[in-house]
Symmetry: C2
Subunit: 281 residues, 2 copies
């Protein structure tokens, strides 16, 4: 480890921010972590759980830290970046948001070099400080977007931290990220919410759900995700999301048509095509 | 344990049948298990893995066993039951198929008391004898359908085996089972296959799939399931499946409309509704 991280601020003390704090503590045992969160209960829990060393509600308290982590819903990221124009030249600001284009576009020019746009492809359906655990990021993918716009120091900080956290780093343009993320994450969330509601709206959902095996459990898990977070993602990636939903709908329509027309040979081929995932994932 | 199971035949030596054989060996260490499978390679593997003690391709060899397990695709179950009219009065025949109405309707009257219609709500996306493991059934739900049509001995055998395997037993009419199973299992498979194909049909699927986090992994896992098995399920439960797909489509359409119309307040409420799954599952 070459870089030195002595002071950190984590804005947003939920699953993502709390877990990030725990992982940082392992990498930099001596670093001091300050927490910020609009939710007072989250602040109390984060202190009790040892996620952070102190709490502040003054953004000016964190202008001089080495690293600021924005682990809040994506619209809040955009609002908060604008309050960070006075940070030190050596501060690295990283967001962990699930969308990237609107976020990188909204960073003030004066602190563009301070900023690193990151999307760690990890999470669980749980939320709040008590959901945090230090292994959340290990072995997972993180996408860094438009990294050429970040400063040299900030690029180094980001790469070293994510790499020491055991993450696999991908580099990508923010537009490309948002298109890919719509398919691999945002649209699947829309499906999972739809699946959960289609069962919950049946006459006796408990009798149906009592029969749930691994398939339904897996497919409905992310329907438990926080609406606060996902509303913002859907807002910011609206066009890519609706395009991905259209692609999904056309596959589902093919499936339904083959079932209705009893076109079993082609349905077999279509299922076997999906099986190609075995070779990739 | 009160019943005595000395001889068993397992027809279909894949994930379900192989795992059932392993679980039976734990319950009845002395029982002799005969395997039948149209796939010679599966027969060889099942012997090598110790899933079965011997292989036969003569159905008449198993007329006298205590228990016959049908762990084959649901259309094959219907064909095979008709070949079992000569079993002993004390034989219990259990199928493990994912649909139930057409199966119970197709059991010959002369052996209706021998037959127990069971649907264990478990499985993985893997298939073949090498996928078998003895814990597949433990802690899971099994649905027994139209149990009043099974004989007294056969009801006892089924209850005792599933209960000793650590399963939670539900009783249900076959029609009700098929409606519920369409929502909780069959339709989710159609969604997962559709999701996988919607990504695989993009220009550069590998670049997208490289970003997969837990959400996509979970939602696409059952898209790896065997088409041989699922074609038959879709055939046998066609009407319930298409009705469940219609319910899902109407939820997805709601979601899409709210996104397109930027109706974030109602989208929030809709996501929060889906969150009610937290309380049930």
């Amino acid at each position: 480890m070459q870089i030195d991280i002595k002071e950190v601020a984590v804005i947003g003390l939920g699953l993502m921010g709390g877990s990030f704090a725990l992982a940082l503590r392992e990498l930099y045992p001596k670093c001091k972590i300050t927490g910020l969160d609009h939710n007072d209960q989250h602040c109390i829990e984060a202190l009790e759980l040892g996620l952070v060393d102190r709490i502040t509600d003054e953004i000016s308290d964190i202008y001089e830290v080495d690293l600021i982590i924005l682990a809040i819903p994506v619209n809040a990221i955009i609002a908060t970046i604008k309050e960070l124009e006075n940070v030190s030249d050596t501060t690295t600001i990283m967001d962990l948001g699930s969308t990237k284009r609107l976020i990188v576009e909204s960073v003030p020019n004066s602190i563009r070099k301070n900023f690193v746009a990151a999307h760690p492809m990890t999470g669980t359906e749980k939320f709040g400080p008590t959901a945090a655990f230090k292994e959340l990021y290990r072995g997972k993918v993180v996408v860094l977007c438009n990294i050429e716009d970040s400063g040299e120091l900030q690029r180094k900080v980001a790469k070293e931290i994510f790499s020491d956290m055991g993450m696999k780093i991908f580099y990508m343009d923010a537009n490309e990220h948002d298109r890919h993320a719509a398919f691999i994450s945002h649209m699947p969330h829309a499906l999972s919410y739809s699946l959960a509601n289609s069962v919950l709206h049946q006459e006796n959902p408990k009798a149906i759900i009592a029969l749930a095996g691994g398939g339904f459990r897996d497919m409905s898990r992310i329907a438990k995700s926080s609406p606060n977070m996902w509303i913002d993602v859907f807002k910011q990636n609206r066009d890519n999301l609706t395009q991905a939903i259209e692609c999904f709908k056309s596959e589902l329509a093919k499936c339904e048509k083959m079932v209705e027309e009893e076109d079993w040979d082609n349905l077999y081929k279509w299922m076997a095509e999906a099986n190609r995932l075995h070779d990739i994932l």
